[in-house]
């Protein structure tokens, strides 16, 4: 009888374990999106003003609804609020069209300055879901919006949304 034993099953098992450990270690890397919020100590008086042609406000409602208006709103003069969705033809198209429009205007008006694009204000309702927030931040990256901020919603804006069916 030969003293040699067949080591093939042992090799099979060893490489199976190697493969298992390789895959489990690489898959545990978390996926993240970076968010930068302004410091609270910032002097609000010196914050640059947003021109009304370059501002877009997006409000996140309940059940994944999305509302938006262009320009700047005041309590007594609300611009028309439009209703859209997270479908690719919804908010993504509006963002990329507005981005192109503002960049073209900035290039025409100030040819020697780099075009920064529009300023987008994101205002989630307190009752909106976290997934809406992640979805809209995702859209900012996809449509390559350079300037966007997470802002608390004003009462008159929340009231205006609740009127829209």
């Amino acid at each position: 009888m030969s003293t040699r034993i067949d080591m093939t099953p042992m090799v099979d098992l060893a490489f199976l374990l190697v493969t298992f450990f390789i895959f489990t270690t690489t898959f545990s890397k978390p996926k993240v999106m970076e968010v930068v919020v302004p410091d609270k100590k910032i002097d609000t008086a010196n914050v640059p003003k947003v021109s009304k042609d370059e501002a877009l406000t997006i409000m996140l409602g309940n059940n994944g609804r999305v509302f938006y208006y262009f320009g700047i709103a005041k309590a007594d003069s609300m611009p028309t609020i439009e209703n859209t969705s997270f479908a690719p033809t919804g908010i993504r198209k509006i963002l990329s069209d507005f981005n192109d429009k503002v960049i073209a205007a900035q290039k025409a008006n100030y040819p020697d300055k780099p075009a920064k694009g529009p300023t987008v204000l994101i205002k989630p309702l307190p009752t909106s879901k976290y997934s809406s927030l992640v979805a809209i931040l995702d859209e900012m990256k996809i449509t390559n919006i350079q300037i966007y901020a997470l802002v608390d919603i004003q009462k008159y804006e929340a009231d205006a949304i609740s009127d829209i069916k």
Binding site: R4, M7, T8, M10, V11, A14, F15, L17, V18, F21, I22, T24, T25, S28, K29, P30, K31, V32, M33, E34, V35, V36, V37, P38, D39, K40, L60, S96, N99, P124, L125, P126, T127, S128, K129, Y130, S131, S132, L133, V134, A135, L137, D138, K141, I142, T143, N144, L150, D152
Partner: protein, 204 residues
């Protein structure tokens, strides 16, 4: 003519060096892998298309459950003993060395400071039976701010702060956590998401 004798060779090759190498790799991966601690809450992460992966190094992680409870975790186990000592001193709680040790072995937790001593006295299976109420982060009683402050002080302000919230968590709770980050000067943080199908990113 004499017959040419071809030496008969065995078809079996010696696999011992290959087995040695394979088990060396297995040992390497077992030793480098870190065991995942028991998570008290399951978080369904929202999907995103533009997320990047980071190295799973030491980080401070705040989790929010779908019903709005806030959990805290500092993944560097070595620093947790200092963290609980400082927190206990701030909230005037005396903990035994056994309780401090069981804190070091925890994953993320959601216990307010007034019940953390009783929580640490329970065995891990007992802890699972009683749902953790979450760490208070209201403006009147913001214990999360203290946890964050001490954790960043101990592990350095460069330690990444990650927010792992459930997709169905209300924005009001997430906003409270983000405001706590702002208060404690953690203005750069990371949202943990699940990768979805890749969308084309617009060209500049």
């Amino acid at each position: 003519m004499p017959k040419v004798k071809i030496p008969r060779k065995s078809v079996a090759i010696d696999m011992t060096p290959m087995v040695d190498m394979a088990f060396l790799l297995v040992t390497f991966f077992i030793l480098t892998a870190t065991a995942k601690p028991d998570e008290p809450l399951t978080v369904v992460k929202p999907a995103s298309e533009t997320a990047k992966s980071i190295e799973p190094n030491s980080r401070i992680e705040i989790s929010v459950s779908d019903d709005g409870r806030v959990f805290f975790d500092m993944t560097n186990k070595n620093n947790r003993a200092i963290l609980i000592k400082q927190m206990a001193a701030t909230y005037k709680i005396s903990l035994t060395s056994d309780e401090a040790l069981s804190f070091s072995l925890l994953g993320s937790f959601g216990e307010p400071m007034d019940s953390i001593k009783a929580f640490l006295d329970r065995t891990p299976p007992e802890r699972k039976l009683i749902p953790e109420p979450g760490i208070p982060c209201d403006s009147l009683n913001n214990q999360l701010a203290d946890w964050l402050d001490y954790a960043r002080h101990i592990s350095g302000s460069n330690t990444p702060v990650t927010l792992r919230a459930d997709q169905n968590a209300n924005y009001s709770v997430v906003n409270k956590v983000i405001n706590t980050f702002k208060d404690k000067n953690a203005t750069r943080f990371l949202l943990v998401t699940d990768p979805a199908g890749k969308a084309p990113v617009a060209k500049k």
